[in-house]
Each structure stands twice: as structure tokens, then as C-alpha cells.
Amino acid sequence: MPEREQKRKSAPARETDEVVEAPGTSETGEKLKADIDDLLDEIDEVLETNAEDFVRSYVQKGGE
């Protein structure tokens, strides 16, 4: 390797974007959290019966 450029974490352009986009992102985060809360409210109905036993006895053969 002739030259080794200084490694950088991110380009300046991206850092600018960050500031602009930040509010939208937290909204997304809030919405996603609300979705998960809804799912957690109903999780017992969705969960496999005896889910803990099921996962304990879940064994597969190696593949590929």
C-alpha cells in the first residue's frame, strides 16, 4: 500500500445530515417503542403453549 489515508468516522456531509434528520428519527423511535408495547400487551396470546419447554427441547441437526 503506497499511501494510507487517515481513517475517519464519517464524512462531513453525513454529520450535517445528522442534525437535520434528528427530530424525525426520534419520532420513529417513539413509534417503534409504542408498537413493541402493544405487542407485549398481547404476547401471552401469541406465545407458543409451554414456550419454555419448547425452547428447552428444541434441538436441530447441524446442516449445510
Binding site: 468516522k9 445530515d17 414456550a51 419448547f54
Partner: protein
């Protein structure tokens, strides 16, 4: 000049029969697939009464022809191996049901056909359960590990130029496979690598990183290598190689699948065009693979042979920047045109969010979606990571049953729509050789005695069978053979016209 990146993925699903003491995974897998194929035949929706032709895989084997899954779906134990009218292969591999997508011309098509494969599995479960006694049912997971040290794969395939030196592929592809885990991971509770405990690694990004023990090699089941050297191009071997990638997780998130294959198609194109001037050689790629998977902060410094370090995120930014430059100079033709542009945009967007707050990607990446779900459950119940209820939730994330799947319920964004997925269950892509394979099966299944990736064998009532080679993955498309197929009344006429 980079070759068009023809690509596809093969997924092995986890399988158990619920309601019996210990289920036999081989017969369960056979039942699953035979039930589906049998149902298609009865409905005359398609005629996958076709055996897989092993000729190019194990020379000396006869085409299986009529020994295909033509009998009624009973609890059979012979290893079924069917070619579907969408150009896919559906078969039992070791102790797992496996579907290989047809050859696709871009990353989005891979997502569509991977989704179609999931729907085929779901239809298979329903068909198979009708044949099981009351109290028994098949449970199928799209995952890669049982949490007890056993792993099975989701492999990717990319068409590459034979002329590209393999050593160059190894260096750059390794850097990508190690670092792309930050968006390809499906998330896993605990750790299965020897010598580590769940208290040290309560949750990690990927299902697969624990199982890689070598940097380069031919194995896929033992001492798995990061770069697999299987050289079976299923195409003209003078011109092509097929890079067989075994490091990836099976994804439930469409975005994750899209980026996994889309970014890799870019990186491999850049390798062919020598557009990656910097090399990143890890001191230990195997260690780096695990380091990335175990580090939820995405900040782990990975040691390079030159004594410097780099993080997975930094490496991905470098690969993205080079890909954008390459696209500006060379265009996007080999990576799917507009789809290639979407890959670049999504890649940048995901890296930006990973840098800022990975939790914002709970609607796009599996490892984040699963983490958020488990973390929410943990908080609500005040339990630790070692609690079996979390392991149960994590497993059920991958459950293929619509009434149980948690991946379906965490709000993941879709790239595909239901109609195109349903269409792709029985119709091939139009822009690769899969079009020829799938269309012949749709129209003339009774005269197709066998098929595989690079040929199709017809019985047109003559003394010998007729094999049509398909050594060029980008020929046999609708624009190439659509008219000939449409105008031929039967395979005999088709063969006459193809030869004429």
C-alpha cells in the same frame, strides 16, 4: 469490467414435529415438501413432477427422472428434490428442508423470491399438517441455530468472472463479511462458541458468527470457513465462478436480506474491477467475526495486520464510499440499475442510523427488532437475559406459522407486496435463465424428466432423452427466448426451433 451479478440464496429451515416424543427431522422435511408438491399436482397448478438432475454435481449419477415426488404425499422418507415452476429448487438437505431461490438479476428480486419461499413453506406446513395425526403439527423456523451448538445455513451465491484472482476475492470479501454483520445479523440470545458463557455474551448480532473456525476452506459443516472454496459454477466454468457465501444469517427482515445481497453484489463487482485500492487484512478474521457479533456498541476496534485498527462501521463506510465512486464512473448495470441505486441509498441510510442510534432501525434490521422486543419484555417482567422466556421469544421470532411469528408482529418495513410474492411462488423471474426452466415446467411438465441449474432434460418420445444445456445464466430470459417458447406448441417444436 465487472460481470452482471446474478445472485440467489439457499435457506435451510429448522424443523420439528410437535406432539411426538422425538421427531425425525429427515422424514419431517420429506413430509413437508412432498405434501406441498402433491397438493400442487392435485390442483394442477403446476407440474413439479420432476427430479433434480444430479449430473453436474455427482458425475455418474443418472438423472432421477420419474423417481421424483410423483406419489401421493404420505409419510415418505426418500429424499425429495423438486424443481418448482418459479425456477426454485425445494429439497431435503441433511436434516432440513431447503429452498434455493431461482437465479435473480438484482437484490430486490432475491427478496421477492425469498419471501415467496417463505410462503411456499407456510403452504407446505398447512398441507403437511393435514396428513399428520391429531395432536401433531410441524413447526418450522427460519433461523440458523438451535441455541445448543447446532447450526444450519443460509447461503448466498454470486456469479463472478473466472479471471478474477481468488486471492483478491478472499481479502475483500472477508472484510465485507466480517463488517456487514452490523446489518445482516438476525440476533441471538447467548453464545455457542466454546469457552464463552451467556453472562459474557447475553445477546449478539448474529446467529452464525459463533460457528466460523477457519478463514478459507471447502468445508461447510465442520470447521466452517469465512470464505468457502466450493467451485461448482453451474455455468460455463471457463468464464465463470460462483462465489458460495456461507457466513450470512437467514433474515426475516426484507431490508436485511436486500442489503445483505445488494451490498455484497457491489463489493464483488468492485473486486472484479479492481476498484478497492485499500485492503483490510485482519490479524484474525475468525476473531474479528465474533468481536463484531458480540459488540452491540459497534465500536470494537478490529486489529489489522499492519498494526492499525478499524471498526466494522468504518469499514462499511469505506466500502460504501468506494461503491458510490465506482457507480459514478461505471454505472449500475451489473448491480441491477435502479435497484443498485436503491441499495446505495438504503446502505447509507442504515449506516447513518447505526452510527447515531441503532435502535432507530427496529423496523429495518432483525437484530435490532429482536433486541427491542426482548429488552421490552425484560423490563416489563424484571428478568435477566438468562431467563428461558427470552430464549422462547427469540426462537419464536423466526417461527414460520403466521399465528405464531413474532417477526411478523414487530413492525418490520416491507419492500415487497403480497401480490408479487404470491406471483413469485409459481412464476419465474423473467430476466435470467430461470425463466426458461420455470416456463418449460409450467407448460410441459409431463415431458420434462429432469432439470438442474444448468440444463433441462426432455422426453419427446424419441429413443433418447434430449438435454438442453443452459450454461449462460443471463440467457434463456423472456426477451431472449420468450417468443420461441410462446410459439412452440410442444417441446419437440421448441427443440427443433432452438437447434434450427
Amino acid at each position: 469490467m465487472a460481470l452482471h451479478k446474478v445472485l440467489g440464496i439457499e435457506t435451510e429451515y429448522g424443523i420439528v414435529v410437535r406432539g411426538v416424543g422425538e421427531s425425525n427431522p429427515v422424514s419431517a422435511s420429506s413430509l413437508l415438501i412432498n405434501a406441498y408438491v402433491g397438493e400442487l399436482e392435485r390442483e394442477r397448478l403446476a407440474g413439479p413432477k420432476v427430479g433434480w438432475d444430479f449430473e453436474d454435481e455427482q458425475p455418474g449419477n443418472d438423472a432421477r427422472g420419474a423417481s421424483g415426488p410423483s406419489s401421493p404425499p404420505d409419510v415418505e422418507t426418500h429424499l425429495v428434490n423438486a424443481v418448482l415452476t418459479n425456477g426454485a429448487r425445494y429439497y431435503v438437505d441433511h436434516a432440513h428442508p431447503e429452498i434455493s431461490t431461482p437465479e435473480c438479476a438484482d437484490a430486490r428480486a432475491v427478496v421477492v423470491f425469498d419471501r415467496a419461499a417463505e410462503e411456499i413453506v407456510r403452504a407446505s406446513i398447512v398441507a403437511a399438517n393435514r396428513l399428520l395425526p391429531d395432536g401433531q403439527e410441524l413447526v418450522v423456523h427460519k433461523n440458523n441455530s438451535d441455541g445448543k451448538g447446532n447450526s444450519y445455513g443460509c447461503h448466498e451465491n454470486y456469479l463472478m468472472a473466472r479471471s478474477t484472482p481468488f486471492g483478491r476475492i478472499v481479502t475483500h470479501a472477508t472484510a465485507h463479511f466480517v463488517s456487514r454483520q452490523i446489518f445482516t445479523g438476525s440476533g441471538k440470545v447467548g453464545v455457542e462458541a466454546a469457552g464463552l458463557s451467556a453472562s459474557e455474551v447475553p445477546y449478539q448480532l448474529t446467529q452464525r458468527a459463533d460457528f466460523f473456525e477457519a478463514e478459507v476452506g471447502l468445508e461447510t459443516t465442520l470447521k466452517r470457513p469465512i470464505i468457502n472454496t466450493r467451485d461448482e459454477p453451474h455455468a460455463d466454468a471457463q468464464k465463470y465462478r460462483r462465489l458460495h457465501v456461507i457466513t450470512g444469517d437467514a433474515n426475516c427482515s426484507e431490508t436485511a436480506t436486500f442489503l445483505k445481497v445488494g451490498t455484497t453484489a457491489f463489493v464483488l463487482s468492485l473486486v472484479e474491477d479492481e476498484a478497492l485500492p485499500k485492503t483490510f487484512q485482519f490479524r484474525s478474521a475468525v476473531a474479528a467475526m465474533r468481536q463484531v457479533s458480540y459488540d452491540l456498541s459497534l465500536a470494537a476496534p478490529l486489529e489489522l495486520v499492519d498494526g492499525t485498527t478499524i471498526t466494522a462501521l468504518e469499514l462499511q463506510w469505506e466500502l460504501l464510499d468506494r461503491s458510490k465512486k465506482w457507480a459514478d464512473e461505471r454505472g449500475l448495470d451489473t448491480v441491477g440499475g435502479d435497484v443498485g441505486a436503491q441499495v446505495l441509498a438504503e446502505w447509507e441510510s442504515v449506516l447513518t442510523s447505526l452510527e447515531r442510534d441503532p435502535m432507530d432501525l427496529a423496523d429495518r434490521l432483525d437484530w435490532v427488532a429482536k433486541y427491542r422486543l426482548l429488552e421490552g419484555y425484560r423490563e416489563r417482567h424484571g428478568i435477566g437475559w438468562e431467563d428461558q422466556r427470552l430464549a422462547a421469544l427469540a426462537l419464536q421470532y423466526h417461527d414460520m406459522r403466521p399465528e405464531r411469528s413474532l417477526a411478523d408482529r414487530v413492525g418490520l418495513r416491507r419492500i415487497t407486496d403480497d401480490d408479487e410474492v404470491r406471483h413469485a411462488m409459481t412464476n419465474p423471474p423473467t430476466d435470467t435463465r430461470a425463466y426458461f426452466r420455470g416456463t418449460c415446467l409450467q407448460r410441459w411438465a409431463s415431458q420434462v424428466v429432469a432439470a438442474n441449474w444448468d440444463s433441462i432434460v426432455f422426453d419427446i418420445g424419441q429413443s433418447s432423452l434430449r438435454r438442453v444445456p443452459m450454461m449462460e445464466p443471463m440467457r434463456g430470459t423472456r426477451s431472449h427466448v420468450g417468443t420461441v417458447l410462446d410459439e412452440s406448441a410442444d417441446p419437440a417444436e421448441l427443440l427443433a426451433r432452438l437447434n434450427g
